[in-house]
């Protein structure tokens, strides 16, 4: 008995050291980013990576705000796109997965294969058709073009289905039916809460990736009023003959900040406890 506890103690120390090492690796780029946002462009060009802060933070800020970088506009647009597409994607993916797990219908397996197939098409070239379509129907500069497609997120449906299969027992559904609950009621009030840990993780990933999305917004949002934060950063970087790196890093740091906040807010679902209680509804 004693031996095992001391074994666990040693293991705990080893694990702790490994974790600390990984944590340092994870935090490094943020530190470099923050430090660089206080350094001048010249300092960065001479040594792109440094841990010693300089005193150009306010100068960088004034350069940043002197250009087309308007944090409030970019923040609002990024927020609208990310929040809406995350909400739509998580809700409808769970709904679709529920339809695939709970009900037995003729085309169920075929439909699942179809979802898997569209997930596997390489995106680089498919996007050309999408841009073409959006430009032809003159729907550029509509944020909805970047939000609505999120309703059909195949990989998220796949995840929800995989998660739901073992986690949602049919008995709960059956007993709710016996109590006279409607199908949508059962989904909203019983299935969704059970799926909370899955929804939280997918919401984080979806939010992060849509916040950082660059290529599609760059091509589809050409009006300055519709620019997202990453578009504004890309503009800063795009001044090919004289890039203001200090301002770029400051902009990057400002872009990452809301993400970190959202992530930390949702991360409590990743940390055990909250989720464990909910399984038994």
């Amino acid at each position: 008995m004693k031996k095992t506890t001391s074994g666990i103690k040693v293991a705990k120390v080893v694990i702790f050291i490994i974790c600390c090492f990984l944590a340092v690796l994870s935090v490094m780029p943020f530190v470099i980013m923050l430090v660089n946002s206080t350094r001048s462009t010249t300092e960065i060009q001479q040594h792109a990576v440094s841990l010693i802060p300089s005193n150009y933070l306010f100068k960088n800020l004034s350069i940043l705000l002197g250009k087309t970088f308007r944090p409030t506009v970019g923040f609002m647009n990024s927020m609208i796109i990310s929040v809406c597409s995350t909400a739509l994607a998580t809700y409808f993916s769970t709904l679709t997965a529920y339809g695939l797990v709970v009900y037995d219908w003729k085309l169920k397996n075929a439909y699942f294969s179809f979802i898997m197939a569209i997930m596997m098409i390489p995106a680089q070239i498919t996007m050309i058709g999408f841009y073409q379509m959006v430009y032809k129907i003159h729907m550029t500069n509509h944020l909805s073009m970047l939000i609505l497609p999120a309703i059909a997120s195949p990989s998220m449906v796949f995840f929800m289905r995989q998660y739901m299969k073992p986690a949602l027992s049919m008995e709960i559904v059956q007993s709710a039916r016996i109590d006279g609950a409607g199908e949508f009621f059962i989904f909203n009030r019983i299935a969704l809460p059970i799926m909370k840990p899955a929804i939280a993780t997918q919401a984080i990933f979806s939010f992060v990736s849509s916040w950082n999305r660059l290529f599609e917004p760059l091509i589809l949002l050409t009006d300055q009023k519709k620019y997202t934060l990453p578009i504004m950063i890309s503009l800063l970087r795009g001044d090919i003959y004289k890039t203001e790196y200090g301002a770029v890093y400051l902009g990057l740091a400002m872009t990452a900040l809301p993400l970190i906040i959202v992530y930390l807010a949702l991360s409590k679902y990743i940390i055990a406890g909250v989720a464990l209680g909910s399984v038994k509804g």
Binding site: L214, Q224, Y241
Partner: protein, 471 residues
């Protein structure tokens, strides 16, 4: 808890539904942009009506000029709706192409292209959208002669029918920019005329330049920082471009020689073996690289936008500031530049206004013209950055002296430099072919690959990526 999650989700869905509902109309939430952006924003919300010119660019340079024009010409009668998309992520061209093809009220009326891809728009696949300047009502031949626009820029901006459809405002003819102190130590003089002589200016050959390199190496000085510095000169010196008349890949002997140049620069320690735009390259400008570097090949913008900020000071005596001079290069070349074009399919009512803007930017030689202000650094008030401009006429009457060059008038060198540059050996594929070529040259020069292997891989890559077979 559960309720709150559902409520939040529902709220999200509702918000989106609302958003979609009014998404069809004009933009819903314009959450307080600042005042400076207000005029362009007003223009944008009207979706490009008849008194709005849609301008597409990849930097804020041209939009800034146009805004200035409107500000100083209150009777112009048009506003400008600008779209700026950076080239960094490669999104500018796909977006511009889609917008030109889609047409409609939001199509670009005026657009810009960078040297790396301008040929696609002036004479390549997208040239059918460019309106020749003569259709803008500009007497183009006379205007070019009066302004003394460099021939290379005209050649690049001429379409397959021989009509000019694009011109720039900047001159990017290149020179050799060197350190005065090193010149004095090694060659006993820092006079641009004599250094030009030593480097073999105007000989159109590298022979004297390498002699100088050997002499500098004896003094433990690298003549250039890396092979990227000489590439633009090598590229421009060749008689033929990458594609021959049959549409096949052709390697000009002078470009093939770049492999050997690249290797010599490393093997003979004639360079610091840096790569352009990397840390070590910038350090060489400050004189803090592995060994001192004599100079850089570049146009005027390299001096003002790259060398000056990286020289380690901002007044004579600090860093390498004031220790520089410009002289004619052994081989003429140009590097970079922006061309301005008009859309053939634009609303005919806008043609006069677009013509007015393009004329002001590219051909106006008066002191009210853009180029005079650009050359003297006065577009945004006194003391701005001076740059070489497309018009020789303007440069002749402008003052290009810089403290950074210890008072030398850079236009004395850059006006003739533009005449040496060659605009006839370019293709619309150059941006990528050059990348592949320089990648293979690097592999050969560092000894990772044999010369033949490098050439074969290059041919294969071009064939597979661009569908262009070797001759």
């Amino acid at each position: 808890m559960r309720k709150r999650v559902i409520a939040a989700l529902m709220a999200g869905v509702m918000a989106t539904a609302l958003l979609v509902g009014c998404g069809g109309g004009s933009s819903a939430s314009s959450s307080g942009g600042d005042a400076a952006a207000q005029d362009t924003q007003q223009a944008a919300s009207s979706g490009g009506g008849s008194n709005v010119i849609n301008l597409w660019s990849f930097t804020e340079e041209v939009p800034g000029m146009v805004e200035k024009y409107i500000e100083t010409h209150p009777d112009f009668g048009y506003t400008v709706n600008t779209t700026v998309i950076a080239t960094t992520e490669g999104a500018y061209q796909p977006a511009l192409d889609q917008a030109l093809q889609a047409g409609g009220a939001e199509q670009p009326d005026m657009y810009c292209a960078e040297a790396a891809f301008v040929l696609k728009y002036t004479k390549g696949d997208m040239s059918s959208y460019a309106m020749p300047y003569k259709d803008l009502g500009i007497d183009i031949d006379k205007a070019i002669a009066d302004a003394k626009i460099a021939q290379y820029a005209v050649d690049i901006g001429t379409n397959a029918d021989g009509d000019v459809d694009g011109l720039g405002y900047q001159a990017t003819g290149g020179a050799f920019i060197y350190r005065r102190s090193i010149a004095k130590d090694v060659f006993g003089t820092d006079d641009p005329a004599q250094i030009a002589e030593i480097l073999g200016a105007g000989t159109n050959s590298w022979d004297k330049f390498w002699e100088a390199a050997a002499k500098l190496a004896e003094n433990n000085v690298a003549i250039v920082s890396g092979d990227g510095d000489v590439w633009h000169a090598v590229e421009n010196s060749s008689e033929t471009g990458w594609i021959n008349a049959d549409g096949q890949l052709h390697i000009d002997p002078k470009r093939e020689a770049f492999l050997d140049i690249s290797k010599n620069l490393i093997d003979n320690k004639w360079s610091n073996a840096t790569q352009d735009w990397q840390d070590a390259w910038f350090a060489d400008m400050k004189g803090q690289g592995e060994k001192p570097v004599f100079g850089f090949f570049g146009p005027a913008w390299l001096i003002n936008y790259t060398l000056a900020p990286n020289c380690g000071g901002s007044a004579p005596g600090e860093g390498t500031y004031g220790d520089w001079a410009v002289c004619a290069p052994p081989i003429g070349f140009f590097w970079g530049g922006t061309w301005v074009m008009a859309n053939k399919n634009m609303d005919p009512e806008k043609v006069a206004a677009v013509s007015e803007l393009i004329n002001w930017i590219t051909l106006d030689t008066t002191e009210d013209g853009l180029q005079y202000k650009w050359a003297n650094g006065t577009l945004n008030g006194e003391g701005g950055t001076k740059d070489a401009v497309a018009s020789g006429t303007v440069m002749e009457k402008s003052d290009g002296s810089l403290d950074f060059l210890a008072g030398q008038n850079m236009f004395d060198v850059f006006v003739p430099a533009n005449d040496y540059a060659n605009g006839k050996n370019l293709t619309q594929f150059d941006e990528n072919i050059n990348l592949y070529w320089r990648d293979q040259a690097r592999m050969y020069s560092v000894g990772e690959k044999s010369r033949d292997d490098a050439i074969n891989t290059f041919k294969q890559t071009v064939n597979d990526n661009l569908g262009i077979s070797a001759e």
